[in-house]
């Protein structure tokens, strides 16, 4: 079973990304959970969302304390939320930042694999403005999910919510981040 913890701020779409990740993994035939940290949601306040992905039915219902992957959608949470806490030593920390992996390692003290990508820039250049979809692309790349499944699910889920033009921009941002994270070699 893989456990994932998302760190974002209310309104950035971390919870939405976590839900789409669950859908993508259902397509892969996996059992899934996706849930936000339960509490009042306020725009801009730190929030957490969680995923569990497994080959068998998932029985546990607690929060995730020792994730395999921690995803930081908002760089300011590196200090405010300590996203490396409990993160498995052989896990992966994925950060939306323009800094280098070495810089993130220095700031977090995390000794495992670090993947950095400038999701804000990717979202800006694609014209979507939201970092959650590029971060989803990075997470699926780290998980080794086939691109076809990722694209299919994002088209299915987001196609209902936005114009075709905006959907294509999101797919472009997703793809760019997926390829960037796939190529990232920031292992220990």
């Amino acid at each position: 079973m893989k456990e994932i913890r998302w760190h974002g701020r209310g309104g950035q779409g971390a919870k939405t990304a976590s839900q789409i990740l669950a859908q993508i993994n259902l397509r892969e035939g996996k059992f899934v959970q996706s849930f936000p940290e339960f509490g009042p949601e306020r725009s801009g306040a730190p929030i957490r969302a969680y995923n569990r992905l497994a080959d068998d039915a998932i029985l546990v219902h607690s929060a995730v304390y020792a994730p395999d992957i921690a995803v930081v959608v908002d760089e300011s949470l590196l200090t405010a939320e300590r996203p490396a806490d409990g993160l498995h030593p052989d896990g992966t920390l994925i950060v939306n930042t323009s800094c280098s992996a070495e810089e993130i390692r220095r700031r977090t003290g995390y000794t495992g694999r670090i993947v950095v990508l400038d999701a804000d820039r990717i979202a800006r250049e694609a014209g979507t403005g939201f970092a959650n979809i590029p971060m989803l692309g990075a997470v699926t790349a780290v998980l080794g999910t086939p691109w076809k499944l990722v694209e299919e699910e994002v088209r299915a889920t987001m196609g209902e919510r936005m114009s075709r033009d905006m959907l294509e921009k999101n797919i472009a941002a997703l793809r760019m981040a997926y390829e960037a994270a796939k190529g990232a070699s920031h292992g220990r």
Binding site: V32, Q33, F35, F38
Partner: protein, 387 residues
């Protein structure tokens, strides 16, 4: 087909398939989305229910009583304070033998105000005369909503039913659910048969009458007989559902690795899943432990619980609410179940998970470790509490 959905979506889907004539509902966290989904179905013309957007839960249950007495198939849903406001009328619904089925998204009771999960609301309605089922997962919440409808409407039963699902833990977690196709679900639940409907003006009847000391007792005794009938009907409907779906539902309780267990926990709701994970971990180390999950909480399955626990040496009963000034409500039921037995485990009672306090595998491991040396006592113990 397997889908990803939250617990409230799963319940709303079951309600859509049941398609009651009347849904009277008032929103309250963490139930609101059930009401919202259903309102959307009505708005979109997907269902043809009369949605009554009442001004309070007292009115919601009152509208349900009126509609059910008139001869309609009726459903509602609530949580916490909403149930507290409904309880006055819930007793009336039970006394009038009205088969109103409701989802209860379990949430703590104020004060202090808190929107998160515990079982104080379910325990509040414990003696109202509704049957109560507790669910471990969104899948069970879906399945048991269909099952509860058929039980409530059975001619031997005709009382309200409550389907409990843990607030947030189940209502707000997206998870894998495999719903039935609409036609199969509708066929399983079957058509509604109104009994003595007020709207049958050719056969006038009186509902909600007055009863003096000369008859009140006999009428309440008849009501007690009705809820006792739930047991047999539950097994019959559950069996039909299991054969339709292939799900492994068999009985009022679900024992997990209990056959040769020396220690066990007894739980309601989603904690059962977390407890199973704890049991698997301890079993790998060779410890003989198990879980007893109680599906049917009212009427309480005394004989089955006693049979399932008779051989166990140490049992921890986990209550997710206080019964202030007394042992936990589930503990009292389990203790009562074991009184007639010759072989009785040592019982411990834990209060845990109040107001949404996260329930972890470690807490269950702690209970298993502590009860190794527990002696019979009437004191409460706690999991996940700072003292």
């Amino acid at each position: 087909m397997r889908k990803v959905m939250t617990g409230h979506k799963a319940v709303a889907e079951a309600m859509r398939q049941i398609e009651p004539d009347v849904v009277a509902v008032y929103p309250i966290t963490p139930q609101s989305e059930i009401a919202e989904y259903y309102a959307q179905y009505v708005h979109d013309g997907i269902v043809h229910s009369e949605l009554v957007p009442v001004e309070s839960e007292h009115s919601a249950m009152s509208a349900c009583v009126g509609a059910a007495a008139a001869g309609a198939r009726v459903m509602t849903a609530t949580s916490s304070q909403g149930l507290a406001l409904m309880v006055e009328v819930l007793y009336i619904a039970a006394g009038m033998r009205l088969p109103i089925v409701m989802a209860l998204a379990n949430r703590s009771l104020s004060a202090p105000i808190n929107i998160h999960c515990d079982h104080a609301d379910a325990y509040l309605a414990r003696d109202a005369g509704a049957f109560q089922i507790f669910c471990e997962s969104a899948q069970e919440a879906y399945d048991y909503t269909l099952i509860a409808q058929r039980i409530a409407e059975h001619e031997k039963v005709r009382i309200p039913g409550i389907v409990n699902l843990d607030g947030f833990t189940l209502t707000h977690t997206s998870q894998v659910v495999e719903p039935l196709e609409d036609e199969r679900a509708k066929k399983f639940v079957g058509p509604f048969k109104a009994l003595f409907p007020l709207l049958d003006v050719d056969h006038p009847v009186s509902w909600g009458t007055f009863a003096m000391p000369d008859y009140y007792f006999e009428l309440k005794r008849a009501q007690a007989a009705a809820i006792e009938e739930v047991a047999g009907v539950f097994l019959e409907v559950q069996r039909a559902y299991a054969s339709l779906t292939g799900r492994r539902y068999a009985g009022f309780i679900e024992p997990y690795r209990l056959d040769d267990a020396e220690r066990a926990v007894v739980v309601l709701g989603s904690t059962a899943g977390t407890a199973k994970v704890a049991v698997d971990q301890l079993r790998e180390k060779g410890e003989k432990v198990g879980v007893l999950k109680v599906w049917l909480y009212r009427p309480f399955p005394y004989a089955e619980v006693a049979r399932a626990l008779g051989h166990v040496k140490q049992v921890a009963v986990l209550d997710r609410a206080f019964s202030f000034g007394a042992m936990g409500a589930l503990y009292n039921d389990v203790a009562a179940a074991l009184v007639p037995s010759e072989r009785r485990p040592v019982l411990s009672n834990y209060i845990y998970g109040l107001g949404g306090r996260d329930v972890t595998v470690e807490q269950i491991l702690q209970a298993f470790a502590e009860v190794k040396t527990a002696r019979p006592t009437t004191g409460l113990r706690y999991l996940g509490l700072r003292e």
